[in-house]
Symmetry: C2
Subunit: 669 residues, 2 copies
């Protein structure tokens, strides 16, 4: 027979499937396995301890019964866990998976034909139909005999015992023995997994909860001073910690803390010449005092930094640092590693641009320069690792989309293989494909288009998209309401209500949100016509009065508290929009998969006018009739009431509070 | 440097991306390439000479300009064709592809960074902004110099000439020279395709037009007789050809034409005992007179068959044969190849079942029996090839979903590699995943759920789904209105109108449709309560009067004629549903991609009552305002009129004709 096969193969052109190749293809199809990114090319994002629903389709020719098992392990470990999958009909199977440690894991699916289950199904049907089953009973005996023969020790003995017992029984008793649960269990153990087929392994990047649920607060340490003339220090930041803790933030993020270059230093408002006392942009990294691994002397010592990290931790705050690969013209790399840069014909380096913005004080390394590989790559990895060793586990990465994707894929994997608690936030504002790809190559989370989504259709579309594949599996949005670079148009003239609107949207819309200091004081003075701050803190020291009247500190504290108390709000997933008959009111539900925590959010997007609307309570999602009564609770005020029926009415006055956040629960009988 | 890299690699655990591996990853991302099935695992279906739109996303770090090219070739050929792709924005690219021969082809996408285009973009912007561009001009000179250096012969000479010319010019002239079209063309030719990245190859299964557009007519040759007592023959079928041609059918399909077994032969109405003159089911294949490669003696000789194939061709009809792998108990294989079957403990073979149907006259080969590989596989392939050599290029395959998928993948590839005009129709009625998979492994087309889709929502959902991925790329639906096995409930009591409704839906819904003889005579007598024909032709000879009153022969002829005259109707793709305010009227458009052929179809799904509705003409799809005038033409009657505006009114009387088919065209100015 083998000869036939080879003869047939010999006639087959190379591009045509040969008989030998076809005979190696699996009988069983395993397909549409989810979650998966790009067919398994990249790891799916997951959170330690949180359930992942794995689904797949399994089928083969014929009508046999299938056994389908989900298996998973930690990358590099030989220890596999497994669980049977549930059959949902139409060839679909599902199982829940909970990973209990951070780091890379992988899952796969095994499927085989459960021949004894197929046999039992036939037997049961025929027995019930009263047709003759003599042959079927003999086949059952052969099943037991063969199973015993391929088993060992106790199992073999038990199966042989069953087999012998069967012989002496009458027909009804034989059927009962063959169909009983114990027989099934023993046959399962002895199953030889006919036609076993395994899917590829799908990687899971399991991170700690902070990767999905965290409130970020950004400040410039040098601005923590009473006097613009006195450079703030790490030690000064200690005084801010209680207030930031009381606003219920989790992450305290600093722009670069490294020595700042002198050459081409920017003056106030991005002017091209700096005075002798102008501090310069912290993004112009590197001077004679050191580069990316050093601390700007005016901020303090390494010891001061360590103390601040420790003090922040005592306030429940983790420090996030900025990883901005660019250099000032004074960076030592220009002299020590000229081969890492791209030099122009006149011996200069092109300064950085992110059109239309120009950064005359900054030059970029060139990842494609002749000598950049591997020295630049390992140097940057070592920079990051150095800060990890200082206790920093969160990095906000500046403009990652202008650096090679394989570089990030390697650096993030390398760092996280040594410390899987480390997380990277991508500060990419670019086209959607690249935004998603950065998540795929390893970024834990990303900046977003949120700042430019203001209307009801814009927000509905954006929130919905982030809940769908591929975004839901690869991209965690961190909704920053402002940054030192982004002073959103919407806030320029919408007043305190405008800030509350954006704070409510960010805190309720995603598990991850962030604000840059000044937002709580409703600062919004722009460079006229631009989305930039006047007197930008990037170029000057800006002391602030954090108790200034009109601030929204109490509201931010309460919004963050509500988030901590409601699991539904600890992710951007689980959003659904419901009917609300007013185009100025965005109304949506955030709910856990089991609906045990269900929060309704209504935001009046119009900061100037009272808006009213009839709206629908999603009673059907709670398994209730349209006329059911439900408990409502205002999570901002604690007020409670009973709703009767599905259609309700709201009135939102932005002069008071431009949003409502209500928890809905079933009335307990 | 190499040493560093190895040192770094050595520390990397196996499951973590190493530096060496990362450095091999491409800079440029090519993703979301369409059409593709399961990431390129299977061939996408295409029709010779018909345009395929290929789309992809291409991007990389940074802001460089990309060059993106679509390449394709015939499988096994070294000759590649290529075309530039169009940039659509947001990293999307698109191109049209037309393959001009049947058989397997493949396409892929190449992308690289067009460094000179990036340079020109910069130069143009800076020149326009009036900033100093001395360095840019020098960089331009270097571009020309390097391009000349890496080129040969004429191209090198021309580039060197440009380079030298540049030197003597003033600034404006230099810019003009660097930006001129000729320079761009030469630089394109000299492009060294920096960071070239190629996608995988995506296979295309290119078939002849009949794979997508064909009307099938099924008959039992033995019933072409005036007298139930006289077995019809191939020679008798000649008399039917003109009438089938006049109904504008393309394919004439016969159930199995092989010798019929005697053992357990079925009698009329599937009874378990046959009389001596009962012809038996043609699906009980094989007797002492031969098996799958033989002709049932009562039908005629091999010569008769050849004559019929030739005569059919003269009438524009292609013969399709049934490939039904099952055997009667008299099939020679049982004796010659007992190892191809699965024997029960008592030495019998289990008869075939397709629950709830029982086929006591039929046994199945067992593809998983010990001796089935490769003998059974090659024997079956040889059976098919034998009929191909007789001029049969179309096979309807019985129950393919109960045979191994790899078997089909191999058999179809094997046959089509020798004759790519051969096509296979899958008679699978099973769950959706398997239906799609059969298309993926090579079936040209498939039976469908059409027969069980009757209401407006059912039909809308089904037609729409077939137009979407993955179905649109892997599955061509052949809408059979009835088969010898399916006498649809809807037809039992809906009368002539019911038959016209289903004929209109099938002919207008898909490029492929089929009917089994008797449909045109509105035959519908069922076995009470079952979707089966009373006195089924599978078990007895059924002469018919094809001129019986009340037939719908004229309507079928006209429906098929309309299909031939309107390209939009020659595929199931290109359907769109529009507003029609009556749940009993299905109203949709079928249109070519360029909208040059635009057909509107309205079917009154209620065979008993007149239905009326306001409906919308899709003027927006024709680029017209809501108040525009359009030409309407009734394709059944030839009547013409002018529609004014978007909203129109229809009244459909099933007693007259339960559907309307209208071509809409713009009024020429």
């Amino acid at each position: 027979m083998q000869a036939d096969q080879n003869a047939t193969d010999a006639q087959t052109p190379d591009h045509v499937l040969s008989l030998s190749q076809a005979l190696l293809l699996p009988r069983i199809v395993i397909e549409d396995t989810q979650p998966a990114i790009d067919g398994g090319q990249f790891a799916v994002k997951a959170i330690v301890g949180q359930s992942i629903t794995v689904s797949t389709k399994v089928y083969a020719d014929g009508h046999d019964k299938m056994a389908v098992v989900l298996r998973w392990h930690e990358a590099g470990s030989d220890t596999w866990h497994s669980t049977s999958m549930r059959e949902l009909g139409n060839d679909s199977w599902e199982a829940e998976l909970v990973i209990d440690s951070v780091g890379t894991h992988a899952y796969c699916i095994d499927a085989w034909i459960d021949q004894f289950a197929s046999y039992r199904y036939e037997l049961e049907k025929k027995y019930a139909a009263g047709v003759t089953i003599e042959l079927e009973l003999e086949e059952g005996r052969v099943h037991l005999e063969q199973a015993a023969a391929r088993s060992q020790d106790t199992l073999a003995r038990q199966l042989r015992q069953l087999h012998d017992e069967l012989q002496g029984l009458d027909q009804d008793a034989k059927v009962a023995l063959l169909l009983q649960r114990d027989t099934q269990a023993l046959m399962s153990l002895a199953d030889h997994r006919a036609f076993l087929c395994s899917s590829i392994e799908y990687a899971l990047d399991v991170e700690r909860e902070l990767a999905q649920f965290a409130s970020w607060y950004e400040l410039f340490p040098r601005s923590i001073t009473d006097d613009k003339a006195r450079h703030g220090t790490f030690n000064d930041v200690h005084s801010r910690l209680p207030m930031i803790r009381d606003m219920n933030f989790d992450v305290l993020y600093f722009p670069p803390i490294h020595p700042i270059g002198r050459a081409h230093r920017k003056g106030p408002n991005n002017s091209l010449t700096a005075g002798p006392d102008d501090p310069g942009s912290p993004y112009a990294i590197g001077s004679a005092e050191g580069g990316h691994d050093a601390i700007h002397p005016q901020l303090g010592t390494r010891e001061d930094f360590r103390n601040l990290v420790a003090a922040a931790a005592e306030h429940g705050l983790e420090i996030a640092l900025d990883f901005a690969i660019q250099c000032s013209q004074d960076h030592l790399w220009l002299k020590e590693h000229p081969g890492w840069f791209s030099w122009r014909p006149d011996g200069t380096i092109r300064y950085a641009e992110n059109p239309p913005k120009k950064y005359q004080d900054i030059v970029n390394v060139d990842f494609y320069a002749a000598d950049a590989v591997p020295g630049l790559w390992t140097e940057l990895r070592d920079v990051v690792w150095g800060w990890v060793e200082e206790g920093v586990k969160i990095f906000r990465v500046d403009n990652p989309h202008t650096k090679p994707l394989p570089f990030w894929q390697w650096l993030i994997a390398d760092i996280r293989s040594k410390d899987p608690s480390v997380m990277f936030l991508a500060e990419a504002f670019t086209k959607p494909a690249m935004m998603a790809r950065l998540g795929k190559v390893g970024y834990s989370q990303s900046y977003t288009y949120f700042t430019w989504r203001n209307t009801k259709p814009e927000l509905t579309t954006y929130f919905t998209q982030l809940n769908q594949a591929p975004w839901a599996h690869c991209y965690r949005p961190n909704f920053f309401v402002n940054t030192p670079d982004i002073n959103p148009f919407f806030l320029h003239d919408s007043g305190r209500a405008g800030f509350l609107i954006r704070a409510a949207l960010a805190t309720m819309g995603s598990g991850l949100w962030g604000m840059y200091s000044g937002f709580e004081l409703c600062e919004s003075a722009p460079i006229p016509g631009k989305e930039e701050y006047l007197d930008s803190e990037k170029y000057e020291i800006r002391p602030r009065d954090y108790t200034a009247p009109g601030n929204i500190i109490a509201e931010i504290a309460q919004l963050n508290r509500i988030r901590r108390q409601n699991p539904a709000l600890q992710t951007h997933l689980g959003v659904e929009f419901f009917q609300c008959y007013n185009d100025n009111i965005l109304y949506f539900g955030k709910r856990t998969a089991d609906r045990s925590n269900y929060v309704l959010v209504a935001v009046n997007l119009d900061p100037r006018n009272v808006q009213e609307a009839h709206f629908e309570l999603p009673l059907w999602e709670l398994g209730l009739d349209d006329d059911a009564a439900t408990n409502g609770e205002d999570l901002m005020t604690g007020h409670r009431w009973t709703w009767h029926g599905k259609t309700q009415f709201m009135r939102i006055d932005p002069g008071y509070q431009p949003f409502g956040i209500w928890r809905i629960t079933r009335v307990q009988p």
